[in-house]
Every structure is written in structure tokens, then in C-alpha cells.
Symmetry: D2
Subunit: 158 residues, 4 copies
Amino acid sequence: MGRAQVAVIGSGADGAEQAEAVGRLLAERGVTVVTGGRDEVMAAAARGAKSAGGTTIGILPDETRDGVNEWIDHVVVTGVGHARNLAVVASGDAVIAVGGAWGTLSEIALARVLGRPVVVLEPGWAIEGEGVERASSPEESVELALRLARTAVDEKSQ
Amino acid sequence: MGRAQVAVIGSGADGAEQAEAVGRLLAERGVTVVTGGRDEVMAAAARGAKSAGGTTIGILPDETRDGVNEWIDHVVVTGVGHARNLAVVASGDAVIAVGGAWGTLSEIALARVLGRPVVVLEPGWAIEGEGVERASSPEESVELALRLARTAVDEKSQ
Amino acid sequence: MGRAQVAVIGSGADGAEQAEAVGRLLAERGVTVVTGGRDEVMAAAARGAKSAGGTTIGILPDETRDGVNEWIDHVVVTGVGHARNLAVVASGDAVIAVGGAWGTLSEIALARVLGRPVVVLEPGWAIEGEGVERASSPEESVELALRLARTAVDEKSQ
Amino acid sequence: MGRAQVAVIGSGADGAEQAEAVGRLLAERGVTVVTGGRDEVMAAAARGAKSAGGTTIGILPDETRDGVNEWIDHVVVTGVGHARNLAVVASGDAVIAVGGAWGTLSEIALARVLGRPVVVLEPGWAIEGEGVERASSPEESVELALRLARTAVDEKSQ
């Protein structure tokens, strides 16, 4: 069934440092990092993962590889525009949100529609609801995401 | 280019009365009501529109018409699951949100990604940001949505 | 459940005359014409439908109404690029193909994946398979499509 | 920008032996094998790639990993149903078709809409058109696909 995968979502230059740490920590735990494949938070998360020898998947909105960042190992070109947001979060066992604008909020919401646990790294979208947790550091976000991912899988197996 | 269209989004039984009023008021203004085509808020908005002789479009997630409510005139079967949320809001010149859970939040966010103005009818998702306004009655929500839709179109024409 | 809907697909200037006749004949039978909403065959089918007082739905690939032809009554903006081809054929009780290139072939195939009957108007894609019939005139294509649509619905009801 | 990727499409048990050889040959050339992630041809191609130490990506139609075959390294869950066919072919620098029914035909056509070269392994869909070549052996299909992929990339760079 493949390895554990966590989606790291977000945008904006401000979250880059946090996202890089998240990517690195996930890679150190042997978890594949899934992102939207582009710049800023997405690039930083992938760069962090590669710095620790990890594996990265980038899921792009357009019909070509144009705009993919250089730290993506495996490129998925969806051709469905912003509907690729659904694929990004659906491909994660859990989702970590770093910063972000409307696109990120759509991903948080779509993740919850599909039952994927979401961890929002502070600061970030002030969204409350079942299945959405907050973390104050990259370390905490990764711990929480992996714990919630295991719980989600265990519940499904029962 | 077709008539003015407003998307009415939401879920939950609580918003049905509001949604029916919104649908009726839009129809009285000659505006086509676009929804996700299913039950609760979606059905109420369409029922309201038909009670005033209006026109309704339902944009469904599955691969058949199954589950469409009886007040839908024109059925669009997308086959793309929750990615149909993107089509619902993209097809509105503006969006009115009534109640709703995660799916509705994803639609509010996707509407803003695409630049569509959003009016949240009180109570509802407590989301703030550029292009999202709040209304305290169905009448106010419809007035605001139509005004914002015109402004959005005017800005685009310049 | 709304009215009967038939999707008219195709591209290229050569099929315009045929497509216009198909659109007109469908409208005369009270059937709503669904198309991809753009130019050539899509515009001709919608123009034919409107010339007979019919109703038209255009399902667009982009994130705005840009490029929609003037004979579309109800505009669905999907934002999912060529994945809108799936929505076009899924929204028809049957599909009539007039001329066309690769996009049209993808629609014929997707229609069959979903179990929608397809009528190819001569000349056109030389595709054979269960559920694909050929017609030598617009009149024959409309008769066949409506018959196959009824049969498909009857089989489903059993 | 990641490694070379080729999409192997098809369905049906008959093509399994061919698909396994195609997957193996691609892996031996260092090319990542992209498939729809499910059974028959898709599973055989992935199995072949893994037998040669290669890398595999599976792009699934549903909202969970259910049904993914055991030879998939990286799982993309799209949630968009048959619209995932677009992502499968868009993610390949070239496409090799082995056997297949309507879904495979839709993928061949969508590949050509996007300008991806297609190689049909004999027997298979009898489709002719610019950018579609035929091969009589797995070896020939892989040689052709890699040559066409390079040409497509070179043309784009000019």
C-alpha cells in the first residue's frame, strides 16, 4: 500500500522556514511529503524533505510540469486547475497547514470533507472543528499529524 | 452570455427556511439559482426559486442524476466528486452561503480563489477576508450579492 | 428530475450545418441541448436549438465565462479544464457526436465508460463498440439518440 | 524537474504479460512508471517495474487508497473519478497503451489533446492520428515512447 504520506499545504513567503522544518522532520520519520508542487511553502517543504534524504510528490494544477519546484521527485500533472487541491489533501494520511490564503483554506476544508486529519501550524487559518488541531512548532505539528494519521487508519480498520 | 446566476451553497436542515427565502428573492429579481442539486439547503433554495417562477441549475458530484432534488430544472452531472464544488461557485456571479459544514467552507474558499464575491448569511461560517461580506437577513444577502456581482463584472470590464 | 437532455459534442467548422440541424431537431422535441459551450459545432448546435425556441446549457472548461457562445442560456463554469468533457457527456441522457478531433473522441469514450449511449453522425470518428451507433443524417441521429436514451433509462429502472 | 515518467494505460487480463514486460523495460531504463494504480494491466506494469527495481506512481480515481495494487510506491488519491484519466496521461512524458476498453480510449484521446505522444501496443485500439504510433512488441513500444518523449520535450524547448 505504499509508505506513509503527509500533505503539507500553504502559501506565502512567511511560512517558508516553518515549512522547511516540517518537510525535514517528516522525511526523518520516513514519511513521503506531498505538496501542490509549486513555490513558497510548497517548495520549502519539499526542500526540507530532500535535505533529509526524503521523498517528495508534487501535484500540479496545470497541464504541464511548468512551475514545478526543483525538490519534487515525482510529478503529477492533473490538468484540473484548483480541483487539484482535492488530490493534494486526499493523498495525505494527514495534512499540515502552514500559513496560506484562500487556496489553503479550501484544502483544509476538503481534507475534512474526506475525513483527513488536519494540523494547523500557528499562526495560520483560525479554523475550529472536529478533526482540526493546532500546533505551535514544526515538531509538534509532525508528531500530531502522524498520531492522528495512525488513529484515522486504525478507526477505518475496525 | 446568459442571465445573471447566483450560487446558493450550504447544508444542514437548519438553514432551509433562510435558503428558501434566498432562492425566492433571487428568482423575483430574474436571477438563476445555481446549487449543488441535492437536499437540505440546496433543495430549499431551488424550491424557493421555483415558487417564484424562477430557473434552477443543479450541479451534481456523482456520475448519474441520482439524488437530485425535484426543483432542479437543469441538471449537470459532473462525475468529479467534491471537485464539483469548484463548478458550483465558479458558475455564480456571486455566492450566498447559508449554514453549512466543511463542504460549504471549501466552496467559500474556492469562490474567493476564483475572485467570486461571497455573502455569508448569519449565522454561518465565521470567515473574514477580502471579498467576504456578512448579511443578517435573506433580503440583505440578496441585495449584497447582486451589488457585489455587478461590481466584480464592472471591474473586469475596465 | 428535469427535462430530457442530450449532449451534442464535436469540433471543426465542417460539422456546423449538421450540428445546427441536430440542435434544432432536439429543441423541436422539447429536449435541452448540452454542449461544451464554445465555438464551431458547439455554437452551431446551440444556435439551432435557440432557432426553435429550445433551451441550451454550456459547460465550460475554464474559470470564467470567457469564450462562451451567445446561444447558451445556462452557463456552467467548471474550472477543471478538459475534465469538463466528463461533465458534458455525463449530463446527457444520450450523446450525439458531429465531426470532432481528439477532444471529441475522449468524450465518446467517457460517455461509454459512464454507460451513456452515443450516436456518431457520418462522417465522424470511426469508432465501433457496444453502445455506439452511426447515423447518416441529423434526423436519424436525433431519433436514434432519443430512442437509446429511453432504453437506457428503462433498463436502469428495472 | 524529476525523472522521466511514462504512463502505461490499459485494462483487461489479456494484456498483463505485455504490460509486465513494458513496466520492466521502462524501469531498466530508469523511467518511472505511472499508472491508474488498480488491477490487470495497471498492476502488471507496476509489478514489472518493481521486478527491475524501478519506481511506480499510482493515480487513483476514488477518495481513498482502496483498490491500489501492491506494486505502487507512491499513491495519488484524486477523488475526481474518471477525470483521473486526465492526470494519468498528463503525468507521462509519453503514454503506452496495452489492450484496454473505453477508459483506455479516453486516455489515448486525452493524451493527444494535451500533446503527449502515444504508443499503442498491438493488438489494441485501432486509432490512427498524428502523435499515435503502433508497436508490435514491448521492446519496440518502450523504444518508441522514449524517443517520442524526447522529441516532444525538444520541440517544446525551441
